[in-house]
């Protein structure tokens, strides 16, 4: 039936430029291109606009354009709705997608601007003055007590809860081995180590080759508990209970058996070829008390030496939930907004469920402050953080650090074609096909990630300098340094910021 679906993209091959090297035929993970007769021909319907052929063609002989096919103009029945209905009529299934919510909801990041010093207070030049980005994740005490030691020094008397140090307030988001390739995981892990930050295994277990990056690893305990054992917990710097994901709040995960090859089966600790089903809820967590029970089970199993994080999707009553999580004994709350990415999710969920991270973050920070428990948890904000500006704004809204997933993938080559669920990623990222995985060089990809983290950190320092502060700590939760543009009163109120001009 799908034959009746028109192609989304057109692959344009300039045969006068083409030198018939056939490289593009091999490069396309989706089987779009083939060599017939004396030239490369395209099966346009297979093209997903991943730009692999365009980027690798030595003669720049290929371009991919949107199929200009006209639909009768209709602002309600957009071509997307029509195409989706045709697809469903042909298959009877749920529409799947990858990446994050791409709909035209308002981006609050784009309606907030940062402050800077002028005349009456000096800005700081980060090139000359030290600028502190170091961030500690973990539960902070209500107060500190010191004692005066014999040799005349002040010593900390308060026993601190476990803290994990980040050299810059960024972590890589949870992406499981299975959803992405081992080479992609290796790149994330080694870049995290190099940058003094953390990467996150997601719920797919920990590959043996990554054991050496333990100090830079967040391991997840999700509802399916894949690959979770004593060693897995003990290797990590942080253990995270995954309750939700911004791209699919309330929805479980499901890695189909055909993607569970030998290697994936080893890290997930399930037989080869069997489905890896993560139900939507943890069936031992139906309340905050139950969550507390799992948090402390993990703390008992790891000797109270590691912070325990709880990851939730940003949903309507996220503030109340976060308060419960803080009270349940979590050390970190990981908030994932509705722009957060995914390897696979029903499109209808990705695009219609959850709330923006900016709003959720402001509401959570506010609530925890009002209840006097903000110090009990660190907040990691994620879900569509695209640049150091988004990061700085998130920190000003109350985040201790941000998590980046999609941005990290893009740094490794991803073109956001949103076909991660097909396992055919031409860039060797969201795939397990050996010939595709091979093309992602983990060292080179790691260098790209390191470059990105370096660039963002430099920019953050510039922002801090402009703000006249010399530590990211001084920006944290400092909403006075943000102003809204084009936001109504309720929105400003929720974000806890003034409009520009006030």
């Amino acid at each position: 039936m799908s034959v009746y679906l028109p192609a989304e993209f057109n692959v344009q091959i300039d045969h006068t430029l083409c030198r018939r090297c056939r490289r593009c035929v091999a490069e396309c993970g989706f089987g779009t291109l083939s060599f017939k007769g004396d030239k490369v021909v395209a099966d346009h319907k297979k093209c997903v606009a991943c730009q692999r052929c365009v980027s690798t063609c030595p003669e720049a002989a290929i371009n991919v354009v949107k199929n200009p096919l006209a639909y009768k103009e209709n602002h309600h029945w957009t071509p997307e709705h029509i195409k989706n209905l045709h697809k469903q009529a042909a298959t009877g299934g749920m529409l799947l997608t990858g990446g994050g919510n791409d709909k035209v909801y308002k981006s609050y990041f784009d309606h907030m601007v940062l402050d800077a010093c002028q005349v009456t207070n000096p800005s700081i030049d980060p090139l000359r003055e030290p600028m502190e980005l170091r961030t500690y994740l973990g539960s902070k005490p209500d107060s500190l007590e010191f004692r005066y030691s014999e040799n005349g020094e002040y010593k900390l008397k308060t026993k601190l809860n476990p803290q994990v140090k980040l050299d810059t307030p960024i972590v890589f988001s949870a992406m499981s081995y299975g959803a992405i390739s081992l080479n992609a995981h290796k790149a994330l892990a080694s870049a995290a180590k190099e940058c003094g930050i953390l990467y996150n295994t997601g719920e797919g277990g920990l590959h043996k080759e990554l054991y050496c990056y333990g100090e830079n690893t967040i391991v997840q305990v999700a509802s399916g508990r894949f690959g979770v054992n004593q060693e897995y917990l003990n290797r990590a710097a942080v253990v995270e209970i995954k309750c939700g994901q911004g791209a699919k709040p309330g929805i479980g995960g499901h890695l189909p058996g055909e993607k569970v090859n030998r290697e994936v089966s080893q890290t997930r600790m399930i037989p080869e070829g069997s489905d890896a089903i993560s139900p939507a809820p943890h069936h031992d967590i139906y309340s905050i008390e139950d969550l507390a029970q799992l948090i402390y089970a993990i703390k008992e199993a790891t000797g109270y030496e590691k912070p325990v994080s709880v990851k939730i999707a940003a949903v309507h009553n996220v503030a109340a939930i976060a308060s419960g999580i803080a009270r349940a004994g979590a050390d970190i709350i990981y908030l994932d907004g509705f722009r957060g990415g995914t390897g696979a999710a029903p499109t209808i969920i990705r695009d219609n469920v959850g709330i923006p991270i900016e709003i959720a973050l402001a509401a959570v920070d506010d609530r925890l402050r009002k209840e006097g428990i903000r110090n009990k948890v660190s907040i990691i904000a994620s879900g569509g953080i695209r640049s150091s500006a988004d990061m700085a704004k998130a920190i000003a809204l109350g985040a201790d650090a941000v998590a980046v997933g999609t941005a990290a993938l893009i740094a490794m080559g991803c073109r956001l074609c949103q076909k991660c669920y097909t396992g055919s990623c031409s860039w060797g990222i969201a795939t397990q096909r050996p010939e595709l995985v091979r093309r992602l060089n983990p060292d080179k990809a790691a260098q790209c990630l390191i470059n990105m983290i370096r660039g963002w950190s430099l920019e953050l320092k510039e922002i801090l300098g402009a703000l006249g502060v010399n530590a990211v700590e001084s920006l944290r939760g400092s909403r006075e340094r943000l102003r809204g543009i084009g936001l109504n009163e309720t929105e400003l109120n929720i974000l806890g910021i003034k409009p520009a001009g006030r």
């Binding site: 298959t91 058996g257 399930i270 089903i277 402390y296 008992e300 000797g303």
Partner: protein, 244 residues
């Protein structure tokens, strides 16, 4: 080593147990246990822990080796994500036993609650097993992906059903053995009832023997009622859901 757990905060008790294991103790007896959670959690050594009294939730969670014997009833969450070891409960137990358990054995003399064996999985030589001497509540073997679950229904009051409803819902691996018959309406839509073959009998026998040895039952009596087994009808209960 003996520890009097009367009135002790669970964290202090578990610290003492962990310390004892570190010191090389192999036999630990806990007296007057009364609801303390996480006993045996995260222990990797093959020690023996005897619990006199009712342990709290998450007994043997993330456990990887010990043998725990409870001389009383036990509560919820026994063997949560357990990797190896044995738990023997001389009484009944609560809900969600063996959540995502990947190895080891749990023997419960009496009845168990809801969602027992949920998401149990096997991997390579690790085949976890739970044997329930009495009856089981709803959602027994939910999402089960591997391992062995056994319900014996011994000492039942007349009219007491062997299991609750939604038996094996979402099951996509492993085997459930039931002593007696099961009404069809109780089955989750992912499972079917089969007769035992020789291989099943060989597989089941050692668990039944061990159960009888722990709790003093006669194997003959246990075997006097024919068993049936439940298997998933598809390894892919959730295939064909998506339009690619």
């Amino acid at each position: 080593m003996r520890i009097d757990a009367r009135g002790m905060y669970y964290r202090d008790l578990n610290k003492m147990i962990h310390q004892a294991v570190k010191n090389g103790e192999t036999e630990i007896v806990l007296d007057n246990v009364n609801g303390q959670r996480y006993i045996g959690t995260g222990i990797n050594e093959k020690v023996r822990i005897t619990v006199n009294g009712v342990p709290g939730n998450d007994l043997a969670a993330f456990m990887n080796g010990p043998e725990i014997t409870v001389y009383a009833n036990a509560q919820d969450g026994i063997g949560n994500t357990m990797n190896d070891g044995t738990v023997v409960v001389h009484g009944g137990a609560g809900d969600v036993l063996g959540y995502a358990m990947r190895g080891g054995k749990i023997f419960i003399k009496g009845n168990v609650g809801y969602r027992v064996g949920i998401h149990m999985k096997e991997y390579q030589d690790r085949v976890p097993a739970i044997v329930v001497g009495g009856t089981a509540g709803d959602f027994f073997g939910e999402y089960m992906a591997g391992g062995i679950l056994v319900v014996l229904g011994l000492n039942r009051k007349p009219g007491d059903p062997l299991t609750g409803d939604y038996l094996g819902t979402g099951m996509h691996g492993g085997i459930i053995y039931l002593r007696g018959e099961v009404e069809r309406y109780k089955l989750g839509k992912e499972v079917e009832v089969f007769e035992l073959n020789e291989e099943d009998e060989k597989k089941l026998q050692p668990f039944l023997e061990e159960y009888c040895a722990h709790f003093g039952f006669e194997l003959e009596e246990v075997l006097s009622v024919p068993f049936c087994k439940l298997l998933p009808v598809s390894k892919r209960p959730y295939g064909r859901l998506y339009a690619y």
